[in-house]
Symmetry: C2
Subunit: 626 residues, 2 copies
């Protein structure tokens, strides 16, 4: 693990997550899969997200002092959305702070991210009596008395007799998916790990996990290098079809990137990647096909059929992944050609199939995926949102990494917060949403998407904001951050073209939302929860997502919850639990695959969703309102 | 298949075996696992082994004409021990000719050697509708609708989408142990095979099988080349322990020999070895360890513990066996350090565990193995008989191959029959038994094993026989075949040293027999059947084996049955049936492993068995009696 990281434990859930100091309890909880209720959107105004910790958190903010009694503060009660973690801490979450009674059950029954009762990878310490004439069972039979049933390769088995005798029948077995992959004689206590990856079209995220404790030891994200050969799935499918070695080229790009991440994750834990014995991979169907080296050709033509829909287990050696040579790669089951393992992972981690009322899960990425559950029936679809919300195709967009602005606030002027407390380089998806929502509220951008010229701006605009609107030969743009504040020396701006790009992404996702509701014969008001997932920032501010129409602006804010990168946390679950893998297989098989392009109402829904909402039905805070 | 071979079908058993013309129906039946009763030892005197065939057999012999009525002969009734097959033929076996009511049930319930209901390797012809928008299941899901549940490697899966589309969703799947190992687009009907091997300490035997029909297409045997590094298991274990690369050297010797045999077997069927997709291996525990490359070190020291006792499945690539690159090797489960897969195979093929009364199975080879079944309890042991009965360590011994004398008859002079109808080169185990029994009956060899000098011979000896006893500086010897009749130009003789070697082999096996009876608290007369197995000739004449004490001379001859190479036929079963593999696993687990060297009565039993029996209690025929 990295020296600078600390661990945050959530009780009674028993989940542990390793993070850098300074993040909010809210973010740590989301990462740990503990979903609290933030009806005010995490502004510190509603006081709903109370947690308790004796020490290890930042000093209470003034909003906390005004909402909590001195007695509560003395006993360690805090607001998860405001308090930040300063050192390793145990945080207690009262039932009343969890997302809702319904959802609390979901989150709990989805199985802990933490120590699991049925880990795919486990270490067994073995200390056996030596064989005697009375007990002359074979070495392997003797071993499985301690480990339970196993399979074993010829190679491991061949060395076993001499190892057992040198170690006086003591040793450590590492068992992965029921196979004995390592036997160490004596008592080495060698550390070993598993890793979980979200393989997005634009972004790769990986975590290093201790399979025994279930704890997270390191986390990394980076750009998917396949982006250089096309920034959406279709362009990559075409590349694989049109070039002799195109598939292998794409596969090796992803594998090489994952290998670099594994090296860095392992080095943060002070080990080599050979200490990692298994990795799990969740991504959309095309990304998974490319990673596994499966021909994606049929994914590019009607009726968009995958090579395989169930999960895959690939030997590490064959996949090219540089982990333990007897390690393996688990690839998620998929629902269809365009609803992949990332969606299954999201369904797994939110346990949406167990919800009482209708629940929609929206995973916002380059491909947007939507899942609707009603009365035991599941529908899923995907839409080509494009990479805008992951920071690509946007003038100053970038993924949520150090130097990315993750939040914008519009008051008398524009304020922002940056990941890593450095000078900003660009903005990630959550900040893009803030920027667009802010400009809409200020009247600088009109509902149809037009950004006004400096001469057309509303009278009421604060002067500091007004002077940020510029116009030159390339069109109108809004200067979000002045050149002298950035790491690059260039201003960070939002252009008219950026707004148009965002409108396309929103329209695709909203049209999917509309079509799934239709399929389930549900009205928007009948939805009990909308769970918003995505890897595009630490969290999005839902009121801003509603202002720009990415989420329905007519939805009661209390029904919205941001559940983080559920593709990654599903991969995390699958890395730690065989039961989670079984549930994933069942979910993938049970879900109805809806092809939007075939739906007669899709075009209408898409066109309707192209415009931003006229009015701001969900305004929660006075900040930035014109 | 070889051009010169013919098929013999046994009804109602439905078993088919491919053989060279000229062998007796008895031998063909034994190979096919159809065990008839031959109370007279196959001399054509008792008339018990009646079978029926309309055409395809040799003309009736005089003994058949005297025992069968003209009406019987007209309807095709023959004696299996006399009639030889001349061309492909269907032979009907009446119930009354089978070994016994008890044993008939055994032989039948052991499952047919023939088409099996649960073949480990199968071909599935696939003709599927193309995917549509309404039926957009993945390619793999579509395939398994036709094949049933499967596993698949990344490599095969990767090519599948393009293959299915080129072949318009028609193709042929080859499934081995539940894994899709080949998919051919379109309709190629490529031939494919499996093979079964008996890996003996001295002799290797292999058969090529059609897994769909269950029929045998070719058969071969050869010397185990490991013999050059030691002719018994212990010397090979020592070689593996004492030389850096000793194990690998031994492994490669066996694998190279099997690869040569596979090449020849395949060429007899007109294909390459790549058409063979799976092989099964039965041998003693040490031979199996060496073949699989497992450290045999612990097999050479008390308490003689194997690395593993259950069956192994090794990818062909890893084992070095040159068959289909996605093929695999099945290695039999073993009972203990000295009772191996060959014994389990024998138990499987004779179905001894289902016998009503007590049954002993004796497998005579370089290691002799004995299994006793009584009332659901199984005991097994092994004894170091040495390679004499496989023709090694005997002056003119050889394995049962072309040029080997397989039978001696002592009348006015010595007569013999040779495998392959060529000039003799040496004698195999069955002929060695005949020779020793003949010389005992003639009084040339005394019960304690002494071969008399020419001057000490009994008066009654025919002159032609008397002149065959020679004596020179190397001791006494008996000239079985004169130099001018052999292929080598040297006489084939039996020496005093050969007789001593044979005595050691007999003593080891008989002592094992005695100890197992003691363990089961059984008297010899309580044994219902003694099944004699071995790869050392086409069959042995039980009355001769009893005369020399290899089989108890006090046993009623009707209780004896020669069941052929049961190690090979067990491997054959396992190549064709998953159920047979499951039964093998159960048998190996259930059987009590008896270590003779630990038995307090062993030494006494061994010394007692060192002498040939005093009198000829079982004499059946007048031939050659002094």
């Amino acid at each position: 693990m990295s020296e600078s990281e600390i661990s945050v434990t959530f009780e009674p859930q028993g989940r542990v997550v390793r993070v850098r100091p300074g993040i909010t309890v809210r973010e740590a909880a989301t990462r740990a899969g503990v979903f609290l209720d933030y009806p005010c959107g995490g502004q510190g105004t509603c006081g709903k997200c109370r947690v308790k910790a004796i020490a290890g958190l930042s000093a209470p903010e003034s909003v906390e002092r005004s909402l909590l009694t001195p007695g509560e503060l003395d006993s360690g009660t805090r607001l998860a959305c405001r308090a930040t973690v300063t050192r390793s801490v145990a945080v207690t979450v009262p039932d009343t702070s969890l997302l809702s009674t319904t959802y609390k059950i979901l989150a709990d029954s989805s199985g802990p991210i933490g120590a699991s009762a049925d880990p795919p990878v486990r270490r067994v310490l073995v200390e056996m009596p030596s064989p005697t004439l009375e007990d002359d069972a074979s070495d392997f039979e003797r071993l499985i008395r301690y480990t339970g049933p196993l399979t074993v390769s010829r190679e491991i088995l061949s060395a076993l007799p001499a190892q057992l005798r040198r170690g006086e029948f003591r040793g450590e077995a590492i068992v992965a998916d029921g196979e004995l992959i390592v036997f160490d004689e004596g008592n080495t206590r060698r550390p070993y790990y598993v890793a979980a990856f979200d393989i997005g079209t634009t972004t790769l995220v990986g975590v290093l996990l201790d399979p025994a404790a279930g704890s997270e030891h390191a986390r990394l994200s980076r750009m998917n290098p396949q982006t250089s050969l096309g920034d959406d799935v279709l362009s990559r499918i075409l590349h694989a079809r049109q070039h002799m070695k195109g598939l292998e080229e794409l596969r090796m790009m992803a594998v090489a990137a994952v290998n670099e991440m594994l090296l860095e994750l392992a080095s943060q834990a002070g080990v080599t990647p050979q200490a990692i014995v298994q990795i799990t991979i969740a991504g959309n169907t095309t990304m998974q096909h490319l990673f596994a080296g499966l021909d994606p050709g049929a994914l590019g033509e009607i009726p968009f059929v995958p090579a395989i829909s169930r999960s895959l287990r690939i030997p590490a050696k064959e996949s090219g992944v540089s982990i333990h040579p007897r390690g393996s790669v688990y690839v998620f089951p998929v629902i269809g050609g365009f609803v992949g393992g990332d969606t299954v992972a999201g369904m797994l981690t939110t346990n949406i199939a167990e919800s009482q009322g209708p629940v929609m899960l929206i995973d916002i990425g380059t491909n947007g995926e939507l899942v609707l559950h009603r009365d035991g029936i599941l529908w899923a679809t995907s839409c080509a949102a494009g990479p805008a919300l992951e920071g690509a195709r946007i003038s100053h967009g970038m993924r949520a990494a150090q130097g990315a602005i993750e939040e914008f606030f519009f008051e008398e002027d524009v304020r922002y917060s940056v990941i890593g407390d450095v000078r900003p380089t660009g903005m990630c998806g959550s900040a893009l949403i803030d920027a667009a929502a802010g400009l809409l509220r200020l009247g600088i951008v009109l509902p149809q998407g037009l950004m006004l010229d400096p001469g057309q701006l509303p009278e009421s605009l604060p002067e500091a904001i007004r002077r940020r609107v510029e116009c030159d030969g390339n069109g109108t743009r809004f200067v979000l951050v002045d050149a002298n504040e950035t790491s690059t020396g260039s201003a960070i701006v939002l252009t008219q073209a950026d707004v148009r790009e965002l409108q396309l992404a929103i329209a695709a996702i909203r049209a999917g939302f509309t079509i799934l509701l239709r399929r389930a014969a549900l009205g928007l008001d009948e939805i009990e929860h909308v769970l918003v997932a995505g890897a595009f920032g630490n969290y999005i501010r839902c009121e801003n997502a509603q202002r720009i129409g990415l989420l329905p602006h007519a939805l009661a804010p209390s029904k919205l919850a941001f559940v983080g990168n559920t593709s990654l946390s599903g991969a995390h679950h699958a890395a730690l639990s065989l039961g989670a893998r079984e549930r994933a297989e069942t979910l993938a098989r049970q879900t109805h695959h809806v092809d939007l392009s075939l739906d007669p109402h899709f075009h209408e829904a898409y066109v309707e969703a192209m415009f931003f909402p006229e009015e701001d039905a969900t305004e929660m805070t006075p900040s930035g309102h014109p």
